[in-house]
């Protein structure tokens, strides 16, 4: 009777021991990125989340033009050069020869990238007759958000290697728009093959691009796997593989980074950053974000229609205190509506001094002593404002010192976005903006242009001198000329103070020390081409 029992115990012991047996080690050159969420899909154009772009546009695809890694400078992508006609209406791109689409388990391309692919990429977003227009709901959010339907008159393949965009009006930021994620070039051959196979949704589920990493597999909400594209036109990656390990919680991402289970992670907990900096084996990279957080007064409602009142209120708010308390150091004070990382930033402008005495005098002089006002605080964390409620409280305390009585109001996020647009809105609203394309127009026109009143222009501010400058800058192609115009525009903005510009947040990316040449993307993306792992 004892033998079977011994046997059973022995097997049990062996079983338990085998539980802790290790399999083959991970390939040394596999980079693991602990991503914060799941992509909406792998065709970048229908979607808007940064998480989606990291998983698709930034690593699997290329665009005609691109942002030089780590900067907002536009450089050639799969188009090697381009010309703009004198009237600013025609953009002609010459494509690079020999750009290869990825070969994977599920698709083998038979030809290189050509003009047909470019035309398809945009046609599917703008042309309701294109069979792919509706294939994932048809909402092409950025194509519409950047006004492409009004702007583009036609796109044609002049020949195999040349594409011409004809616009309805001159728009200097157009080149920067074409560097955005929604303009990622897809394979028409693949699209046609999937349509014929009756599975068009595969274009969005199993992507094919020309970029440095080819999609291998996606386990929903868990892991995305990529292999380097051996024939990448811009130099194949050194890595053996790229893996996105989806890890929604920031503290857990940190634990994984510490344990070496991932090499790069986004969005650390501000509270963990100090420890990370001290931790051996981890480096925290930092860069100013392409964003601005602001307090927008309603310039159409008294007394905020009075520029002296706005200026006075600006002078009563202690931005350094806000930086310390709310950003915990992960930010810089904003004096202009665009961040320093964008060309034409006007360094010469002096910020409103923090001077509560003077502020009180000015308010009294304008007859608004003892003002009651509302400040709207966002209920969610945003890249440009980690804690709006806290920020509002600091402002409330500051303004109390100049006899301004602030009531803090808040709404649920979707409602907040909706209600804050109203022209008759009661109160100053805390909000912000992250740049889409590194062009000053993307901040100044979108947030402060006359057209945007009642929409994204939360200050409801329409000021002709400013408007003239930014409209002029849209028409001109020469960057030096545009720079001069935008610098003037920033001066006008400062004089008129429709906002109190608060801060630009600093993006912090913790990486393991063996990661080489990872650069923070000003647009908040995670790009792995050019990154390698030290042995």
């Amino acid at each position: 009777m004892t033998r079977p029992r011994h046997f059973a115990l022995g097997t049990l012991a062996l079983g338990i021991a085998s539980l802790f047996a290790q399999g083959a080690a991970q390939a040394a050159g596999t980079l693991v990125y602990c991503s914060e969420g799941s992509p909406e899909g792998f065709d970048p154009a229908p979607w808007t989340a940064g998480t989606t772009f990291d998983a698709s546009a930034k690593n699997v695809y290329n665009r005609l033009v691109e942002f030089d890694r780590g900067t907002t400078n536009v450089v050639p992508g799969v188009a090697k050069e381009w010309t703009v006609s004198d009237d600013g209406l025609e953009y002609t791109f010459t494509l690079r020869e020999g750009v290869k689409f990825q070969t994977t388990d599920f698709f083998t391309p038979t030809r290189d990238m050509n003009a047909e692919d470019v035309v398809f990429t945009f046609d599917r977003q703008g042309n309701t007759d294109n069979p792919y227009f509706d294939y994932v709901g048809g909402q092409w959010e950025y194509y519409n958000g950047m006004s492409m339907p009004d702007l583009i008159s036609s796109i044609e393949a002049v020949d195999d290697m040349t594409v011409k965009f004809t616009l309805t009006r001159p728009e200097a930021p157009m080149i920067a728009n074409l560097a955005m994620d929604f303009a990622s070039i897809l394979s028409k051959e693949y699209a046609d093959a999937m349509m014929e196979a009756g599975t068009p949704e595969m274009l969005n589920q199993q992507p094919i691009g020309t970029g440095p990493f080819a999609f291998q597999a996606y386990q929903k909400d868990a892991v995305i796997r990529y292999l380097p594209h051996a024939e990448y036109w811009n130099g194949p990656s050194d890595l053996d593989a790229l893996i996105f390990a989806i890890t929604p919680d920031a503290s857990v991402r940190y634990q994984k980074l510490k344990a070496g289970e991932c090499h790069v992670m986004p969005y650390p907990n501000p509270a963990d950053v100090a420890e990370m900096k001290a931790e051996e084996g981890i480096e925290v990279l930092e860069q100013e974000g392409l964003n601005v957080g602001y307090l927008a007064y309603n310039t159409q409602v008294a007394p905020f229609d009075n520029v002296n009142v706005r200026k006075a209120l600006n002078m009563a708010i202690d931005k350094q205190a806000i930086l310390d308390v709310v950003f915990q150091g992960a930010g810089t004070i904003a004096k202009n509506p665009i961040p320093p990382t964008i060309w034409s930033y006007n360094e010469a402008i002096a910020d409103d001094a923090y001077d509560p005495e003077k502020a009180k005098e000015m308010l009294v002089a304008e007859g608004v002593d003892g003002l009651d006002m509302k400040i709207w605080a966002m209920p969610v964390q945003r890249p440009y404002n980690p804690n709006a409620r806290r920020m509002a409280e600091v402002m409330q305390a500051d303004l109390a010192k100049v006899d301004v009585n602030v009531e803090i109001v808040s709404y649920e996020w979707a409602e907040y976005l909706d209600k804050s647009k109203e022209v008759g809105r009661d109160g100053a609203v805390l909000l912000g903006w992250t740049g889409d394309n590194g062009d000053p127009d993307n901040f100044l026109a979108v947030l402060l242009g006359c057209d945007a009143v009642g929409g994204s222009n939360r200050a409801q501010w329409c000021h002709q001198p400013f408007e003239d400058l930014i409209q002029q800058a849209k028409l001109v192609s020469d960057q030096d000329e545009r720079t001069a115009l935008y610098e003037q525009a920033q001066t006008v903005f400062k004089e008129q103070a429709p906002w109190d510009t608060i801060a630009h947040s600093v993006v912090q990316v913790p990486v393991r020390s063996e990661v080489e040449d990872f650069r923070i993307d000003p647009f908040g993306g995670f790009i792995f081409h050019g990154v390698s792992l030290a042995d």
Binding site: F20, A21, K220, A245, T247, V252, A414, G455
Partner: protein, 335 residues
């Protein structure tokens, strides 16, 4: 028994209708809509907004939207996720096995430890084993899941390195997800070390998710046992000289099981709720996190479909619980 079953099934239909109504209305009562959220700080023109509202059918009167939803359910179509444009049904089944696997393990953990703990506590009532076990259960019940999980990760995965930090499987293993149950798929794959990796990844999440049900089952078992142990027939059995093991394990436990089984059935609801937090912390790709994200982005179809499916599961489990009653307690099936 048959009549009993029929009656129980009969309550399914009104319950189902009620759940479909609640899941439909609840998400729409929250301010904001998915289109506005998608537009973000940029916003969109009023024309575009109206066009999109119409495209997705959100401008229709609410009773019509509900009607479309119900007709869809009856045809087995839960609609398409607003976020990913993929069928809600497909997304649910892609993610559900992970939640199921974790819940089953957590429930097994809770039962394997909770039942004996409750019995031992009941039999030693008032003495130190009872006090120790019950205060431990109280602590387990009171601990916030998030905090408990982080504590375990920091200590066991971080400091000691005994367990992996998060996820279902070590990244070096790559195999097709046939059933979606990592324990099965890893065995089938034949890759050396894959199965043990699956088990290791299950350890901490199971403990975390199973802690509250464990505490509840322990306490419930204890009180049910105490009640039964005080009964006359138990006293008689003791007087007849039966061994404690036979009394406690057979006679007493069997009769104490009814309230305990009820609790088990109800704990399925707790598991689904706890799964949300556990899944977030352990990067466990299940339905809990999926639904929470959908609520945040006002993904109406996902929330409706997901809540409906969860309610269905809870109803089915409780149906089984009630059937089990019928077997355990003859008095019930005679009714």
């Amino acid at each position: 028994m048959f009549g009993y079953l029929l009656r129980r099934l009969g309550t399914f239909v009104p319950t189902f209708i009620g759940v479909s109504l609640v899941s439909f209305l609840f998400i729409r009562l929250l301010p904001g809509d998915p289109i506005m959220l998608m537009a973000g700080e940029r916003g969109m023109s009023d024309e575009r907004y109206s066009a999109l509202l119409t495209q997705f059918g959100y401008d229709q009167p609410i009773y019509l939207q509900y009607w479309d939803y119900v007709v869809g359910i009856l045809q087995g179509d839960l609609g398409v996720s607003f976020k990913t444009k993929r069928p809600v049904w497909d997304e649910f089944f892609a993610l559900f096995p992970a939640t199921l696997e974790l819940s089953v393990c957590a429930m097994a953990f809770a039962l394997l430890l909770g039942l004996p703990a409750g019995i031992v506590a009941a039999v030693n009532r008032g003495k130190w084993p009872d006090q120790l076990l019950m205060s431990t259960a109280l602590v387990g019940y009171s601990m916030p899941i998030f905090w408990w999980a982080l504590l375990l990760i920091i200590y066991f995965s971080g400091v000691l390195g005994w367990t992996p930090v998060s996820g279902r499987m070590s990244l070096q293993y790559f195999f097709p997800s046939g059933t979606g149950f990592m324990l099965i798929d890893s065995l089938v794959s034949g890759q050396k070390g894959a199965f043990s990796s699956a088990v290791q990844h299950l350890i901490l999440p199971t403990i975390v998710l199973g802690t509250i049900p464990l505490a509840v089952i322990a306490r419930q078992t204890r009180s049910a046992m105490l009640e039964v142990l005080g009964e006359d027939y138990v006293r008689t059995a003791r007087a007849k000289g039966l061994s404690s093991l036979r009394i406690n394990g057979l006679h007493a436990l069997r009769n104490a099981m009814i309230p305990v089984i009820t609790v088990i059935g109800l704990q399925v609801g707790t598991l689904m709720a706890g799964a949300i937090l556990t899944e977030t912390i352990f990067s466990w790709p299940g339905i809990g996190k999926w639904i929470v994200d959908a609520i945040g982005s006002r993904d109406y179809t996902t929330v409706q479909g997901g809540l409906l499916m969860i309610a269905l599961i809870v109803m089915v489990v409780n149906l089984f619980v009630d059937i089990t009653y019928g077997f355990i307690n003859p008095k019930i099936r005679a009714r």
